[in-house]
């Protein structure tokens, strides 16, 4: 509900910080779902963006930065070029370990470190490939 209200606010250009919510009566401090966010005129652009990010994150939807790029949970904008580069590097590493048939503890640690820095979709894909290779003994190794 809160996300619909926020989208409505954006569509209605309600980012104008000088423009307060219409207060129609006692206890009417804004639309439903925004209770506790402050009352009339206190929702500035930065705060709204933060709220939208939190709402999207709570629904498992990647939040977008001002430039439309996915934002990491910590709030930093991801670089798609870096993400793609890292994705290809991890894929090459996995292929290598499959060819060799084994991964050492140190290599496993390095691989996991690399996976940790991937975007979420790529993390899921890389971990799936790693686990399938371990469980099929295509790669002999341990965590």
């Amino acid at each position: 509900m809160a996300i619909l209200v926020l989208i409505w606010m954006i569509a209605g250009a309600s980012f104008d910080t000088d423009k307060p919510w219409p207060v129609t009566g006692v206890g009417d401090a804004g639309p439903p779902g925004l209770n506790g966010l402050g009352t009339a005129g206190s929702l500035d652009d930065t705060r709204l963006r933060r709220i939208i990010r939190e709402e999207l994150a709570s629904r498992g939807t990647p939040a977008l930065g001002a430039d439309g790029q996915p934002v990491s949970p910590a709030g930093k904008v991801r670089n798609p070029v870096d993400d793609q580069f890292r994705k290809e590097r991890v894929a090459r590493q996995l292929d290598h370990y499959k060819r060799v048939g084994a991964i050492s503890p140190a290599q496993m640690q390095d691989l996991q470190q690399e996976i940790a820095r991937m975007d979420r979709a790529s993390q899921k894909e890389a971990l799936s490939q790693l686990m399938r290779a371990l469980n099929s003994r295509q790669i002999d190794g341990r965590f």
């Binding site: 990491s72 949970p73 910590a74 709030g75 930093k76 991801r78 996991q112 470190q113 996976i115 940790a116 820095r117 993390q123 971990l127 799936s128 790693l130 686990m131 399938r132 371990l134 469980n135 099929s136 003994r137 341990r142 965590f143």
Partner: protein, 119 residues
């Protein structure tokens, strides 16, 4: 007499689709008469490079025939469950074809503690 002792060797079951499950007692695995049997779970924390932390939980096991099973999770509820392991835990876990943990269980009982009279 030394109370009930209940060893639980590691058993690993894998299915054709890549899913499977494993269970066993850590003490029994550690003192097994072979050099391949083991079972355990762990959590690793990584800097995600974007100001956050990537938490990766995993369980792994191999039976006396060196048949192994692995699972991983990034789910907060399962990561929390993994913190319940104890020194003498019986561990059970299951995974889907992608190797994602689908069940994790720990049982810490007196009968899993090594027999003081054992070798």
């Amino acid at each position: 007499m030394a109370g009930l002792v209940q060893p639980a060797v590691v058993e690993v079951t894998t299915n054709a689709d890549g899913s499977g499950n494993a269970f066993g007692n850590m003490v029994t695995a550690r003192f097994a008469d072979n050099d391949v049997e083991f079972i355990g779970c762990g959590i690793r924390f990584f800097d995600d490079g974007a100001g956050g932390t990537f938490e990766l939980g995993f369980c792994q096991a191999a039976n006396s025939a060196d048949e192994a099973g692995f699972c991983q999770t990034t789910r907060p509820d399962l990561l929390e469950a993994m913190k319940a392991t104890g020194d003498y835990s019986f561990i059970t876990f299951a995974w889907n074809p992608d190797g994602e943990c689908r069940a994790i269980g720990f049982s810490t009982q007196s009968f899993y503690i090594p027999d003081k009279n054992a070798k």
